[in-house]
């Protein structure tokens, strides 16, 4: 069991508005282990940003407990409240890096000065601060841009500066709050790969908040899905994708739209055929789990014919996950055996009722 670097226990954040109380985060607990890339996904307003802001207390929780690197930063049970403040809080924050959607660089400071600003209260001497800043800029590939002002850089470059600033005090944790949402696809991929790289190289723990599923697919190891202030589903990336149970998760991971598309196609292709000899299947398989030439075997060993209606391959953290919608035709008995065979070879199989939609 890896060491837990972030523990949020029963966190609630309520905002009082004129007459009502908005429960932005409602009794949520998460644990993030050292070296994880932990994705928090959900639509805007789900409370994911509010939740992770409690980690460095940019947002003070209404109740719950925040423990980072084994140190309790906040806890409130009933009326008893502990909250670190002043110098202690600032020191704790320096150990948690954070990057933002709109970069939030200081525009009247140069790139170097932005990074140096984060080191202002470190024990380093002026010269060491300058060389440390240069070292950080090199880490993010901007060693030649030190004297530029942020406005002279592209969005992707500005986010790199923000990453350099966030990492200045050698934090073990980096919180990325929609950090790629304002970037174009190319820069998004570069920033994500940089985060992944830093995770590997420095053992940096990354908390990735996003509404873009592609960002999570590319780098996250674990995922939590948030909706209306609650975490509705959580697990390893591939589990969440392959075994999404909640409708919202299915929607987010894109399974629902695939199923809908497939159903349309299935309906069209089976319009004039005999349904009693056919079974529609939704097959999901991950990277290395399938070694046999499955389709050939279905025909050769079980005497059923398989036609592919719709297919898709996703890459999750470099591991391909395939989705196939197929129609298997043949004798009832053979079809049953074929399905058993598919399951035994590591493929997740769900039957699709052609008249009603999806059934397990």
């Amino acid at each position: 069991m890896a060491e837990k670097v972030i523990e949020l226990k029963n966190i609630s954040v309520f905002f009082k508005q004129a007459e009502k109380t908005v429960k932005a985060v409602n009794d949520v607990s998460i644990e993030v282990e050292k070296g994880d890339i932990f994705g928090v996904v959900g639509y805007s307003g789900a409370g994911k940003s509010t939740l992770v802001r409690t980690i460095n207390l940019l947002q003070k929780p209404t109740a719950g407990e925040v423990v980072v690197n084994g140190k309790t930063l906040f806890s409130k049970n009933g009326n008893k409240e502990t909250l670190i403040e002043g110098k202690e809080l600032r020191q704790a924050r320096r150990e948690i890096g954070m990057i933002f959607q709109h970069f939030n660089l200081l525009e009247e400071k140069t790139v170097s000065q932005n990074v140096e600003f984060a080191l202002k209260h470190s024990s380093l001497k002026e010269k060491q601060i300058a060389s440390r800043a240069q070292e950080l800029l090199k880490l993010v590939g901007l060693e030649t841009k030190g004297s530029s002002y942020p406005a002279q850089l592209s969005g992707g470059q500005q986010q790199r500066v923000a990453i350099a600033r966030a990492l200045a005090n050698n934090p073990e944790i980096l919180i990325s709050d929609e950090a790629t949402s304002a970037l174009d696809p190319k820069n998004t991929v570069q920033i994500l790969d940089l985060l992944k790289n830093l995770n590997k190289k420095l053992g940096l723990t990354v908390v990735l908040i996003t509404h873009e599923m592609d960002a999570v697919k590319r780098i996250a190891k674990k995922v939590a899905v948030m909706s209306s202030g609650k975490i509705i589903e959580r697990g390893n990336l591939i589990d969440i994708f392959v075994n999404a149970k909640q409708p919202l998760t299915q929607e987010l991971v894109g399974i629902q739209s695939q199923i809908q598309k497939a159903e349309q196609l299935l309906a069209q292709s089976t319009e004039n055929s005999d349904l009693s000899t056919q079974t529609a299947l939704h097959l999901t398989y991950t990277g290395n789990s399938v070694k046999d030439p499955v389709m050939t075997k279905l025909y050769a060993d079980y005497g059923v014919q398989t036609s592919i209606i719709f297919g898709n391959v996703d890459v999750l953290r470099d591991e391909p996950v395939g989705t196939l919608f197929v129609i298997v035709s043949g004798k009832e008995e053979n079809r049953q055996k074929a399905i058993e065979y598919l399951k035994s070879s590591g493929i997740k199989v769900s039957k699709i009722d052609l008249s009603k939609g999806v059934a397990q």
């Binding site: 460095n56 940019l58 600032r90 020191q91 924050r93 320096r94 948690i96 890096g97 954070m98 933002f100 709109h102 939030n104 660089l105 200081l106 525009e107 009247e108 400071k109 600003f117 984060a118 202002k120 209260h121 002002y149 942020p150 406005a151 923000a162 600033r165 966030a166 200045a168 005090n169």
Partner: protein, 233 residues
């Protein structure tokens, strides 16, 4: 030049350069009043402007009570027409500078007249600093003074120069009224020796000199604001 003035504007020359009515004296008085009341007024205005922004809802030192104190004081002084403030504040002036009339006595009402105006402008300039920048600075452990100097004042500096320019110009306008309490200055020359004596030439020259002051302030202000601005347009 002198010949030209002698020929076409003899009264302008008659006022002389030095002496109580002299042009040199008026110019120095205007500069003196503008400089010192700008200094006091802007320091006060800056403090109140910062105070309002910090204690406002969502500010880094959110505090309803202090916000109201700052806000109401500024609103109160802003509501008093300057010419009335000149008289109204006289007892306070007496305490501070030991006299109620003269150029130095005018500094008190001028400072108090200009500070609420400046405070509001500073408030707008500082409110324009993205909250995200504050959060980002907090996330790297910035202290309170870092937030004030490195974030608020630095990020808003170009805007602050702009509002200072506007304030200085408005202050030059206020000094013209200070003649009412015997402070002298170009405004006084224009009114007392120009307008009231129906001497258009004197009024014109005094106005022209004020315009030059304003122009110089505007040009320097615009230049500085531009040079200090590195933000994305």
């Amino acid at each position: 030049m002198i010949n030209f003035l002698n020929k076409f504007m003899p009264t302008v020359v008659q006022l002389g350069w030095t002496g109580d009515l002299g042009w040199g004296t008026s110019i120095v008085q205007t500069l003196y009043m503008t400089f010192w009341s700008a200094l006091f007024g802007c320091i006060l205005g800056l403090l109140f402007g910062i105070g309002i922004v910090l204690t406002d809802t969502g500010g880094i030192k959110e505090n309803r009570f202090w916000f109201n104190v700052f806000d109401k004081i500024v609103s109160f002084f802003r509501a008093i027409p300057f010419i009335i403030l000149l008289a109204f504040i006289a007892p306070v002036t007496q305490i501070i500078v030991k006299t109620q009339i003269g150029t130095t006595a005018a500094l008190v009402p001028l400072s108090l007249g200009v500070f609420p105006f400046y405070a509001r402008q500073v408030q707008v300039a500082l409110t324009g600093v993205d909250k995200g920048k504050i959060e980002a600075a907090q996330s790297v452990g910035a202290t309170f003074t870092d937030l004030i100097f490195d974030v608020y004042l630095t990020e808003a500096r170009s805007e602050l120069v702009r509002v200072t320019t506007v304030t200085l110009i408005s202050l030059i306008g206020l000094t013209a009224m200070a003649g009412a309490i015997g402070a002298g200055g170009l405004g006084n020359t224009a009114i007392a020796y120009g307008y009231q004596r129906s001497d258009t030439a004197v009024t014109l020259v005094a106005t022209f000199l004020v315009l030059i002051f304003v122009l110089v302030v505007q040009l320097v202000g615009d230049y500085l604001a531009k040079v200090l601005d590195h933000r994305a347009s």
